[in-house]
Symmetry: C2
Subunit: 613 residues, 2 copies
């Protein structure tokens, strides 16, 4: 088991190695930007699908939509750049909103982010499979299992640890950037030579007119391109020192690349008048138009698939980090703060993987059905983060605080407007799920926090009398099903820690009591423990045993509950457990989960007997 685990995930790393896990700019760009960069794979597709409903007239607007989104991108990049400087320790939306706006907005931002990370993983692997299936249509029928296999691969890579995954990622990310820049360059040259294509001839027939609603709907769909842009400001601590400067440089490079790729591909698609069939992505159709269907085409599709896997990976960096922050503050289960063998938050990784697998499975690998859930959360988190920054500047008033507040304010207004547009336009398509989920998440966070607070108050040493008053020696009750060596050994142990041991035989089958009594007397055990035979007319063990315990505690009235010692067989082979009643286990669980209304506690002693092979 251990060696299989080591092979899959690598050997355990010592805690001392923690500080070394930092990334250079080159690697950090590969680790943190793919979510944003890869968005063109599905954002372009959603813009195309939305506009194609209005035929050629609709598709003529794709360029404007792309530019509008690029402007929003520029605003966001400027805003987040300020966040990086202000929060060099990692300024995720959760931290910024919580510090500046309070608990509930912070939790709302956190819930929105966690939701979107799950969705990003599901969307990315689904889009990756769609890109692969555009090249190899035979794969189309196996989208769901393929997506789950990709997901499993990303999960394993992440459980191995950040640095290694960073290393694995560098090649495909730069390959993707390079090949798309080449695609756009070649496209521009050919565009200059060939002149524009005609959409009218190839576009599907219009089923709806071009309305403001349609354009806003398209804009909402396209905004999925911007999800993930906050990764770098979240992840400042993974950069090498000076972290803030390195993070800022990387973010500006990322924003520029995003703008070029997104506007470039959208513009060329419209210029050439490219459309796609039902089992092909629009990017795949554009690539065929520019490169033909040969090796270069396949290289672009391969790059797309790989970068989408790496995009899914971004969430595997962010989700466990945000979850561990929430868990550290007591809003999520503490286990999410545990660093696993490989110095990663293994529980967070597994949780994310499970949730994303559920999404892929439920939506059956259908990208177009998943997308409407996406982006609401991201833009809500953006808005809260920008609002937090505005408050931050108003409160702090450093140099040029008015300009900074204005910039973040602009970002806030733009993203808030976008949230409303998306939530309204995509509500019935699926956004309602997220709108419903977010308040539930916030309430759950608060409920969990309440539990931890409550528990800390209950367990605090404050107010405890300083002298340690010892307990009296316990009374012990030993259940006896039959008289054998295991029972005798347990009895010897009980006699060593108690002056009053009572053996209890619950007589389920009439006649066994007499037999036990006879052996008990024969072996002179009565001097060590008084044997009580309890009848059980309904053949239940637990009921009569509990009744006896209550009775004996009441009769003694010495302020303590009798300790129960359970002789337990441990068989040599696991399958042999099925040959035993597991009564000890059952009694233990019932005793443990039988709540007390007073302060007294019943200790339970497991006394194993190891059956020989």
């Amino acid at each position: 088991m251990r060696s299989l685990k080591d092979l899959l995930f690598g050997e355990p790393l010592p805690t001392l190695g923690l500080a070394n896990e930092r990334l250079s700019n080159i690697r950090a760009l590969a680790a943190l930007s793919p979510d944003a960069l890869a968005s063109i794979a599905y954002a372009n597709q959603e813009i195309f699908l939305s506009l194609a409903a209005a035929g050629a007239a609709g598709l003529a607007h794709s360029w404007q939509i792309a530019v509008a989104i690029a402007i929003l991108l520029a605003l966001l990049a400027l805003s987040y750049s300020q966040t990086i400087w202000a929060y060099p320790g990692g300024g995720g939306s959760y931290t910024v909103a919580r510090e500046n706006l309070g608990e509930t907005p912070g939790l709302l931002a956190a819930g929105a982010l966690l939701t979107d990370y799950c969705l990003n993983v599901a969307v990315s692997v689904t889009a990756g499979v769609a890109a692969a299936a555009s090249a190899f249509p035979a794969l189309w029928a196996y989208r769901t299992p393929l997506a789950l296999v990709l997901l499993a691969a990303v999960t394993v890579a992440n459980l191995r640890g950040l640095r290694e995954s960073g290393g694995v990622m560098t090649v495909p990310v730069y390959f993707f950037i390079l090949i798309y820049l080449v695609l756009i360059g070649v496209g521009l040259v050919r565009a200059a030579g060939e002149g524009p294509g005609s959409l009218a001839a190839v576009a599907p027939p219009a089923t709806v007119p071009v309305t403001l609603y349609l354009l806003l709907h398209t804009f909402s769909a396209g905004c999925t391109a911007l999800t993930g842009i906050e990764s770098i400001s979240n992840g400042v601590p993974v950069f090498r020192a000076p972290e803030a400067r390195h993070a800022n440089q990387t973010m500006l490079v990322m924003a520029a690349l995003m703008a070029i790729l997104f506007v470039g591909t959208s513009g060329l698609t419209q210029y050439f008048g490219v459309v796609a069939g039902p089992e092909e992505t629009i990017l795949s159709a554009l690539t065929r138009r520019i490169f033909g269907s040969g090796a270069l085409y396949l290289a672009v599709q391969a790059a797309t698939v790989l970068v989408l896997m790496v995009a899914a990976n971004t969430s595997f960096v962010d989700f466990p980090r945000v979850a561990s922050l929430l868990a550290r503050d007591g809003y999520l289960p503490r286990q999410l703060t545990n660093l696993g063998d490989r110095l990663v938050y293994s529980n967070g990784i597994l949780l994310l993987s499970g949730l994303a697998a559920l999404l892929v499975f439920v939506f059956g690998g259908d990208l177009h059905a998943l997308i409407p859930l996406f982006a609401v959360g991201a833009f809500l988190a953006f808005t809260l983060s920008q609002a937090g920054m505005v408050v931050h500047w108003l409160r702090l008033r450093g140099p040029r605080w008015r300009l900074k507040a204005l910039l973040n304010g602009l970002g806030m207004v733009a993203t808030a407007a976008t949230v409303l547009i998306i939530a309204y336009n995509k509500f019935l398509d699926g956004a309602w799920i997220v709108v419903l989920l977010l308040p539930i998440l916030v309430l759950s966070f608060k409920r969990i926090h309440h539990h931890y607070q409550h528990m800390a108050a209950e367990l605090t040493l404050r107010g405890l009398p300083p002298s340690l008053r010892p307990f009296p020696r316990p009374r012990i009750v030993l259940p006896v099903s039959s008289v054998h060596r295991g029972v005798i050994k347990a009895l010897r142990y009980a006699s060593a820690i108690s002056d009053e041991v009572t053996a209890v035989h619950v007589e389920i089958t009439p006649g066994t009591g007499q037999r036990v009594r006879q052996l008990w007397d024969e072996w002179g055990l009565e001097q060590d423990a008084h044997l009580v035979i309890v009848p059980s007319p309904y053949r239940s063990l637990i009921g009569p045993f509990l009744a006896f315990l209550d009775q004996t505690d009441q009769e003694h009235n010495d302020g303590q509950l009798a300790t129960v010692i359970l002789p337990e067989f441990v068989p040599a082979h696991t399958w042999e457990s099925f040959l035993h009643n597991q009564t000890a286990l059952l009694v233990r669980v019932v005793l443990l989960y039988r709540r007390r209304t007073d302060e007294r506690t019943r200790a339970i002693i497991d006394f194993p007997w190891y059956l020989r092979d």
Copy 2:
């Protein structure tokens, strides 16, 4: 929970009520014979399907096949009648074969019987659904789920207890007998009036010739009609006193009814020249021929469905009984001897239900695929039982022992020949599964027996020195994750039973050790328990903790293993368990299942702390 259980299964019955659960002949016939009686529903069908392959020429032989089987039936009835007299305490094949032939033949008979009981349940519910679907073709597509629903209903009825199920059954069984007698009577009258129908006109075209192989194959298929005939001799103890006489009367009535129904329906089918389409049973087609498709037809189909459910029920009486006999002798898990709340072997009932559900599910409700597995086991058990009886008479030599031995010998030869015919003719169709399974079952029974024998030898008090040498007072180790009231309470308990308590903090996160040490000293706990901080560079709790335990045991070298006391939180609500690491549970399991090579035992004390609501 409790009241829902009572509603479904009835209130618990006291053990004292056990002796009252006896049945009159009328009820016993209803409880024990349906397996045998209902067999006509599928035996007729299998004979028809087998002979139809040879067209009209083949179908002309059905009457002979039916008579051959009826003769076998008479032989078996005579043989089993002797078993009932010889074994008034219940002479199942297992008991008879084990007592007279030895362990392995007994286990083989038991394995064969248990297999066939499972198959009988699966075959009966499947055939019941097929009968219902013959009347309502829309049900045909839902055969598997319908069969599972029927199975669940029978299971619940049986968990309620034998007498009540006996009551439920009386009506449909006598309704079935009555309506089929009427069907045969009316059929005979009409046959006398109308004269024979012609098979040549309606029979499917012949695809194979009529060969000896085909006839033997058909005979094998038809032998499924005789499965279940041993129920009464198995179930002698459920009759009212004098049990043997009542059982014998009932068996003779049953055999006569079986012969009349089987030969009657087969003969009329052939005489009228009835054939059935692919989605109808042959009995349904015969009934339509005699009664038309009106209310009487529906009544016959309803009676068939009901009696098949009751037939499934027969196995619910026998399987748990045989399983409990095997378990009592140590060949199956002891749990199968437990009488449940309603004085039935609930575990056996649930096991049978689960296995039958698996069969229905795997074979997708296809009766014709299930049948070849059937009958091999039953006839093997018959053979072993008759062979046992022969040995019984040879050994006992009571009055007229030669005649008795001859009768049982005839039964043995006939059933042995039948086993060989079935196993050979149906081998590739599915009988191989049973042929393979039976030796595996026998080996498993022996392996289980070995385990119990071994354990009894290990635990016996024989050879134990008579004086009870007490243990020394235990050393105690208390794992401490942080210093809180739960730990302090556990420490007070530990101090009451031990003079040497050691607290251990495994430092998973650097720095926590210092904090624990500080609080420990501040509260003056060091005088009660020495605190040891154990580093854990790889952030594992279990490894360093176990290493510490081994080390401290080795250093003390006092012949004992330190007892571990585990402070454990019990949250007020179940969902809150997810907010805790469950470390205590994990440590407990690891400690318990860590096998010792020596005689020493490590006791584990659970010390719960109940978190307030």
